[in-house]
Symmetry: C2
Subunit: 278 residues, 2 copies
C-alpha cells in the first residue's frame, strides 16, 4: 500500500500538481479539519492519513484505548472534499525486521519529552516515513502540539527533506479548551476543570503587556493551575524559548507559555505564544 | 548549496530524467569509477558527491588525515563524463543546531559496528541527507563495504525512501587487494602482507564446494590470517548471514565470508559472498 500511495503521489507531481498533507491519528475534530481546509486552500491535492502510531506511545500509555472511528472520520473528510485518505496498517508501516529510528536530539528530551522518553523519536520516524510515501510540498500540524512542530521542523531541515512544515493555530472549544482527540477521556467534572489550563495560559500571556519577569509569570501560572482541585499533577509549566524549548530568565521577542497537567488522570497539554515588547 | 543541488535535481525530474547517484568521500579509485560507469549506463544523469563525513569517524580515527585530492578526483570524473559533482562543506551538511540522527538498530552493532560504535549511524544520517538533496532513482555502493550496503538498504526500506540501492562488485588490485582510499596508508611491506586478506577469504570460499561446516571454514580463515606476521589484530573473521550479519552454524544458500584485520596499524576490511549447494 505505501507503494500505491507513493506512485499516486508521483503521478500528481509529474503533472505539476502540489500535494498538501495532513497526517493524523484519526478521531478527527475541528482542529484536524482546520488543517485540511488550510491544505485545500494552498495545494492542488490534499492527502490526509490516519495511523495510530504505536512507536510514539510509551509503556502504560493509551495506545489500546486511543479513540478510533474511521466511519465518522471518512464522513468529515468527504465533506471537506479531501482527495486522498491514506490508512496504512501497522505491519505496512513497521514490517518484520524494521530497525530504523530517527532521533532529534536535545529538543526531544525537553518539556513533554521528560515524561514521554521515546515519544518524539516515534513521531519523527513515522512522519519521515509518511513524508517519503506521500511526497507533499507542504505538511500541516497544529500549534497545540508545539514541541512536535519544533521536532519535525528540525528533522525536516536537518535531513534536507523537501517539505514545508506549516503550523496552524490551535482550535479551541467555546470555553477555551484546546481540541484534542483525548478530551473524550474527561468525565463531566474533569471536563469543566480542564478549562483551567487555557485560562491560566491566557491570563499569563496578558501579564506580559505590563512589567513582569518570566519568573513572576511562571509563579502566577503555577498558582492558577494549583488552585483547581481536580488538577492532580503539573508535569511542567513555564515560559520557554520557542526555538530551544529551554526555560528563559528574560523575555524574548516571542515567548512560549506552555504546560502539561493531569486532570483526573487525563494528561492535557496546551500553549500560547506571547510577544514581548520592551 | 544543498538547495541549488536539490532544485537542479528537481528540474531534471520534472523533465522525466532519471538520476543515478554515487556518494563518495573522494580520493577516487577504480572502485568508485566502476560505480560511476554503472550509474552512467543505467540513468540519464549521473551525480557524484564528495564529502568526508565527520559523523562517521570515531574519536581517534583518521578523519584529519583521510586522503583528499579534489583536483585529481575532478579529472577522473570529467573523463567519465559525470554530469554533476556535489562537494558540500561541513557547515552546509551540519549547520549550527543540527540535531538529527538516524540509527539502524541491531545491524549497525555487528561486525565493524562492534569496533566503530557510531559509524553506521553517521553513514545512515549523511546518506539520508544526500538522497534527499540529490533525489536519485538509483544509488550505487561497492560490496567491499558490505555492512554499509546492508544498513543503507534497511534504512531505505524502513523509511520508504524512493531510491533503488545498487550494490556493485568489489574492484581489486591485480594481486587481489580490495581497492580502498585507505590503502595509501600501507607501507611497502604492509602492502604485500595485506594480500593475505583476500587470499584467505577466497581460499575459504572455495572450501565450500567440498564438505565442510562454517566452523571449519572459520578456523581455516583465522589460521591463514594469523600466519601472516604483519597482521597485528583480527577484529573479526567468520561466516555470516548476509541479511542479519549474524554468524552462522550451518551454511545458507548465500554466505558472507568477511573479516576486518589490522596490518601495521592500518585497518582493512574485505568480504566475499559464497553460494552453498547441498
Amino acid at each position: 500500500m505505501p507503494r500505491v500511495m507513493q506512485e499516486t503521489s508521483k503521478r500528481y507531481l509529474h503533472t505539476g500538481k502540489t500535494i498538501g498533507f495532513v497526517p493524523t491519528m484519526g478521531a478527527l475534530h475541528e482542529g484536524h479539519l482546520s488543517l485540511i481546509r488550510r491544505a485545500k486552500s494552498e495545494n492542488d491535492i490534499v492527502v490526509a492519513s490516519i495511523f495510530v502510531n504505536p512507536l510514539q506511545f510509551g509503556a502504560g500509555e493509551d495506545l489500546d484505548i486511543y479513540p478510533r472511528d474511521l466511519e465518522k472520520d471518512l464522513d468529515k473528510l468527504r465533506e471537506l472534499d479531501t482527495n486522498i485518505l491514506f490508512v496504512p496498517g501497522d505491519k505496512i508501516i513497521y514490517p518484520e525486521g524494521f530497525a530504523t529510528r530517527i532521533a532529534v536530539e536535545r529538543l526531544s528530551d525537553r518539556l513533554c519529552g521528560r515524561f514521554r522518553p521515546d515519544h518524539f523519536s516515534g513521531v519523527a520516524t513515522v512522519v519521515c516515513k509518511l513524508f517519503n510515501i506521500v511526497k507533499p510540498a507542504r505538511a500541516y500540524f497544529g500549534q497545540k502540539d508545539f514541541q512536535q512542530t519544533v521536532v519535525i521542523s528540525r528533522m525536516v531541515e536537518d535531513l534536507n527533506m523537501d517539505v514545508e512544515v506549516v503550523i496552524c493555530p490551535t482550535v479551541r472549544e467555546s470555553d477555551g479548551l484546546a481540541m484534542s482527540s483525548r478530551n473524550v477521556y474527561l468525565g463531566a467534572k474533569e471536563r469543566l476543570a480542564a478549562t483551567v489550563l487555557y485560562k491560566a495560559l491566557s491570563s499569563c500571556s496578558q501579564m506580559m503587556a505590563g512589567p513582569s519577569t518570566p519568573n513572576e509569570v511562571k509563579k502566577k501560572l503555577l498558582e492558577m493551575l494549583s488552585a483547581e482541585p481536580l488538577v492532580s499533577e503539573i508535569q511542567y509549566a513555564g515560559i520557554y524559548d520557542p526555538a530551544t524549548l529551554l526555560e528563559i530568565d528574560e523575555f524574548k521577542q516571542r515567548n512560549l507559555i506552555a504546560a502539561a497537567i493531569k486532570v483526573g488522570g487525563v494528561r492535557l497539554i496546551d500553549n500560547v505564544m506571547a510577544e514581548y515588547h520592551k
